[in-house]
């Protein structure tokens, strides 16, 4: 379980999320939605341990770095790098392999299964530069599978891919949910959230709603999030009293 206690996170010293309290239950499948600039990515990075909270507390009980897998929205990786799909997927075992250890036969089999599961069988030897955006995202999902993490954080994983790939990847996420992994995904497609994500956190710098998806994604809540987004002051100081309008 991940507990947030009065958590405030900031992006380049500007507040991104204010005073957020709540919990992601172990094994929960949660979508984070909200307008652009609502602090979704910063919150996800904080959960991943890449950004330190500006204030408040984040409790990730029992979760070590190795138990957390994080897929950024636009990975800073070099798509033309001379590396094969197979090697990218095996990177998921970095924790075990480290600098020197050779790849065990079981790990090779694991990689082959993951590549097949994401629908890239036959692409193992292909350099990643030859993959389409959707195929590349599939490869990154296979790498996530090899990370075998208890907590999986996805930042807009479907933003640049076609509907069929998105459906396939959502099926994989559902599989992780069945395996009792905790999955938290930042998403924009509200229909997909309603169909596939039992819990939702609606964020507009402040928490608008957090709980069962059908109770959070109401017209009233979405309207409130939209109105708050319109009144944001981009230069507000952290926790200045004026940043949250009284709606």
């Amino acid at each position: 379980m991940i507990v947030l206690d009065d958590l405030t996170v900031a992006y380049e010293r500007h507040p991104a999320v204010h005073h957020l309290s709540g919990a992601f239950e172990a094994g929960a499948l949660t979508a984070i939605v909200g307008p652009n600039g609502a602090g979704k990515t910063t919150l996800l990075k904080t959960l991943a341990g890449l950004v330190r909270p500006a204030a408040g507390r984040l409790e990730r009980s029992g979760l070590a770095r190795a138990d957390i897998a994080y897929l950024p929205q636009i990975p800073e990786l070099d798509r033309r790098f001379p590396i094969s799909v197979h090697d990218v997927v095996l990177l998921g075992r970095w924790r075990a392999l480290g600098w020197r250890r050779g790849v065990a036969r079981a790990e090779l089999a694991q990689a082959a299964r993951a590549i097949a599961a994401v629908g890239l069988a036959g692409f193992e030897r292909r350099p990643i530069g030859t993959l389409s955006a959707g195929q590349f995202q599939r490869a990154l999902f296979a790498r996530l599978m090899l990370q075998d993490a208890a907590l999986i954080l996805l930042d807009e994983p479907f933003s640049a891919i076609d509907a069929r790939t998105a459906d396939d990847l959502i099926a994989l996420i559902a599989g992780w949910h069945r395996e009792r992994r905790t999955v938290i995904a930042v998403l924009h497609d509200l229909d997909a959230v309603r169909r596939h994500f039992p819990s939702t956190l609606l964020l507009a710098r402040d928490c608008i709603g957090w709980g069962p998806t059908e109770r959070v994604l109401t017209a009233a809540n979405l309207e409130r999030a939209r109105r708050m987004a319109e009144s944001w002051d981009p230069d507000a100081d952290a926790c200045a009293p004026a940043t949250a309008p009284t709606a």
Partner: protein
């Protein structure tokens, strides 16, 4: 004139040429992997800046000890690493782009180096440091080149995996909690070591010539990181032998001739290499032919 006269005799008859060949072999072995990593990191031009940035350290080492290879090299390594780490620091702590901070620090370093050399040294010192002298390498210089080459090959072998991952997906390495900065600093150290080795032979102006040009050319021949490194070393070696022979027979300066031959290899690779070259890209597909 026989083939023996053209290719074997020069090396058999001239010790200076043999020593130059050994120096080039050492440079090629270390430069292949380092150049490949520079290309993959898109740091080709930064490597060039770095090669000029070692100048003040070399100059100070020269002035303090009167030309001890060890002191000059140590000075060069310190100056090069200082420039690399300071510009890295500015890039991390401010929103400035890496190339701008690199350029700023290398220019400061280069100007300081020229100032030191011209104020306290003689003109021929400056010429020697700027252009090197491949045919007048001292035994100490050769040992240094061999040591750099050995450290590079062993270092790349030890750091191979983190170097590649840090180059391909640094964010992943950070999120996995692995020490990507160890790989990065190790990489910078290898680059600076090779530059300091290369400036002896080629001078600071062209230190990267035998490192960068073969690595840039290798991209049109090979596709995996290891094969890029091997190809790069091989092309550097071929360019060295050919360059030395041409320089010898035509009475040209060795360093710049070798770099020009490496440049010709690069141009030929761009035009005719088996992978992604102009020939491959603009060849009409067979099924479109009438």
């Amino acid at each position: 004139m026989t083939v023996h006269d053209l290719i074997v005799a020069p090396f058999a008859d001239h010790g200076a040429l043999r020593r130059a060949l050994v120096a080039c072999i050492a440079l090629a072995l270390g430069g292949g992997p380092v150049g490949t990593l520079l290309v993959l990191r898109r740091m080709s031009l930064m490597g060039d800046s770095l090669s000029h940035a070692v100048l003040p350290g070399v100059a100070v080492g020269y002035l303090v000890t009167g030309g001890s290879i060890g002191a000059m090299s140590l000075g060069g390594v310190v100056a090069g690493l200082a420039v690399a780490l300071l510009s890295g620091l500015v890039t991390r702590l401010t929103p400035a782009h890496e190339d701008a901070s690199f350029a700023a620090f290398f220019l400061i370093s280069l100007a300081a180096g020229v100032l030191i050399v011209t104020r306290a040294g003689r003109d021929e010192d400056l010429v020697h440091i700027l252009f090197g002298d491949l045919l007048a390498l001292s035994p100490d210089g050769l040992v240094l080149l061999a040591a750099v080459s050995t450290v590079t090959v062993v270092g790349v072998a030890l750091l191979y995996r983190p170097l590649i991952v840090d180059c391909f997906d640094p964010q992943f390495l950070r999120a996995a909690g692995a020490a990507g900065s160890v790989a990065y600093v190790g990489f910078l150290l290898l680059v600076v070591l090779n530059l300091v080795g290369a400036y002896q032979a080629m001078g600071t102006l062209m230190a990267l010539g035998l490192i960068m040009l073969p690595a840039a050319a290798a991209r049109f021949w090979a596709r995996a990181v290891w094969s890029l490194m091997l190809t790069s070393s091989g092309l550097a070696l071929a360019a060295s032998v050919a360059g030395l022979l041409i320089a010898h027979h035509a009475g040209l300066p060795a360093g710049s001739t070798i770099v020009l031959v490496a440049g010709a290899v690069y141009l030929l690779s761009v035009a005719f290499g088996p992978r992604d070259s102009l020939r491959v890209r603009y060849r009409r597909p067979a099924h479109l032919r009438a």
